[in-house]
């Protein structure tokens, strides 16, 4: 079981490393979206500090969603996905491996660059630390939930727009608590504990259920 998980994980990462631009595009999309806001709303420090957490989270939502389209698309086109459906290993496990690879390639870079982006918004050290932690817990949920949408919209025309329509409403709890944690940390870091507990709970739930749902969606999409 673990062998097949690691095998797919390694394969997806190798494939992505061969085409590094895909990974970088997502990352720069995130940076550009975040940088656009101060240009639009003005560079007042006070305002930026208030808006920062929300803007960074919304940008992370959009970036991770844009990357989702590619989650299954390449494997679907060359027939690999069909072969995966026929393997004796549980499909949910294969999906989990693909989602993990997807997160390592698109979610983790966002987490890593978040401190830099936080500086653009004059967030203090505690807020930046909280943001990195919250993104660390939150972005895997985005990838997991997004996998369901990616599987449902597989091979459809206009799949990208459709995907955003399906998935963004489901991202709301992560947005509320992820950005909430950063906002609260401005007052007292100790107050962020319930936010992290809830994000952690969402992550565990998503880890269990969304690979199953995405696997079911894949079977519906390819039959």
């Amino acid at each position: 079981m673990w062998r097949v998980f690691l095998c797919i994980l390694g394969r997806d990462i190798t494939l992505a490393m061969r085409r590094r631009t895909d990974v970088l595009t997502t990352l720069f999309f995130f940076v550009i979206v975040v940088s656009l806001f101060p240009l639009g709303i003005g560079t007042e420090k006070q305002i930026l500090r208030i808006l920062g957490p929300g803007v960074v989270w919304v940008a992370a939502l959009l970036a991770s969603m844009l990357a989702l389209e590619r989650l299954f698309a390449a494997d679907y086109e060359d027939g690999t996905l069909e072969q995966m459906l026929m393997t004796p290993q549980p499909l949910a496990l294969l999906v989990l491996a693909k989602v993990t690879a997807h997160w390592l390639l698109t979610g983790l870079p966002l987490v890593a660059i978040a401190p830099l982006v936080g500086m653009q918004y004059h967030l203090d050290d505690v807020a930046v630390g909280t943001m990195v932690l919250a993104l660390m817990v939150g972005t895997p949920i985005l990838s997991l939930l997004g996998a369901i949408g990616a599987a449902l919209t597989l091979g459809l025309r206009g799949g990208g727009i459709l995907l955003s329509l399906l998935i963004l409403p489901l991202y709301i709890p992560v947005l509320v608590y992820g950005a909430g944690a950063v906002t609260v940390s401005a007052v007292d870091f100790a107050d962020t504990q319930p936010y992290f507990s809830l994000l952690g709970a969402f992550l565990l739930l998503a880890l269990i259920f969304s690979p199953l749902a995405a696997a079911a969606a894949l079977r519906i999409s390819i039959e």
């Binding site: 449902l152 799949g159 459709l162 399906l166 489901l170 709890p173 608590y177 909430g180 749902a213 519906i220």
Partner: protein, 248 residues
């Protein structure tokens, strides 16, 4: 003869056709009486801690619409689940037929809510938990309809959107509580309760009658739509052809 006979589109089609006038008539009657009762048999002004003038009467459309919007999503998800489990075509058709009516009621609830909010809160829109979750419910309906119409293959469209409806149903309470208490430290303090038993009895009656009317309207509308879906899906079958020939 069992009720499951009507799980076949061919036998449900005429049954729905016979039932539609009844549901429509009951809906029209209860909505008319409900509106009359609500407009003329209720106090002109609400007293108490939060006085409201005539504009409170939007409640007779607003609350039933909001209830139906949530109820119809439940119906949609239930038919989707039945369809996925038992693989019955009619269940998917019922789910698909319920979606537009639910979306319309959601929109109506938001619209009337905005009109009520203007005089009483001084704003059309506030990020109140109930408003926000109703808005998200609207997004879920739209997502369901969009996914269904984006897929050409009817079988895949049915099953994919059914799965989406169920995922949405699981998420709905999570989203609701997320918006309802954005600060987990103060959850208990934030919960809003509206108490039906404290309502003036005429208002309560009119509201319930309107709810019943909207519900019956949903039956009529959904059955009409499902008949259309059945005809377009089964257009190639013998019984539809016979039907068309009989009409012609």
């Amino acid at each position: 003869m069992s009720i499951f006979r009507y799980a076949a589109p061919a036998s449900f089609y005429p049954l729905a056709g016979r039932l539609i006038p009844w549901f429509a008539a009951i809906a029209a009657a209860s909505i008319l009486i409900g509106l009359y009762w609500g407009f003329f048999q209720t106090p002109d002004q609400l007293g108490g801690t939060n006085p409201q003038k005539e504009y409170y009467r939007i409640i007779f459309v607003h609350v039933p619409a909001a209830w139906m919007s949530m109820w119809l999503y439940l119906v949609l998800a239930a038919w989707s689940a039945v369809g996925l489990v038992f693989n019955t075509r009619l269940s998917f058709m019922m789910a698909r037929a319920a979606a537009p009516t639910g979306a319309i009621f959601t929109f109506l609830a938001l619209w009337t809510g905005a009109f009520w909010g203007r005089p009483s809160w001084g704003t059309y829109w506030d990020w109140d938990p109930r408003l926000t979750s109703e808005l998200i419910l609207f997004f879920l309906y739209i997502g369901y309809i969009a996914l269904h119409s984006a897929i050409d293959d009817a079988r895949r469209a049915d099953r994919a959107s059914a799965l989406l409806a169920i995922v949405g149903l699981v998420m709905l309470p999570v989203i609701f509580w997320s918006i309802n208490c954005p600060d987990p430290n103060q959850c208990a303090a934030l919960h809003q309760r509206s108490d039906l038993s404290q309502m003036e009895s005429n208002i309560f009656r009119a509201m319930m009658l309107m709810t019943f009317g909207f519900w019956m309207y949903s039956f009529a509308a959904v059955f009409m739509r499902v008949r259309g879906i059945i005809l377009s899906r089964e257009a190639e079958s013998a019984w539809v052809r016979a039907l068309v020939e009989a009409k012609a």
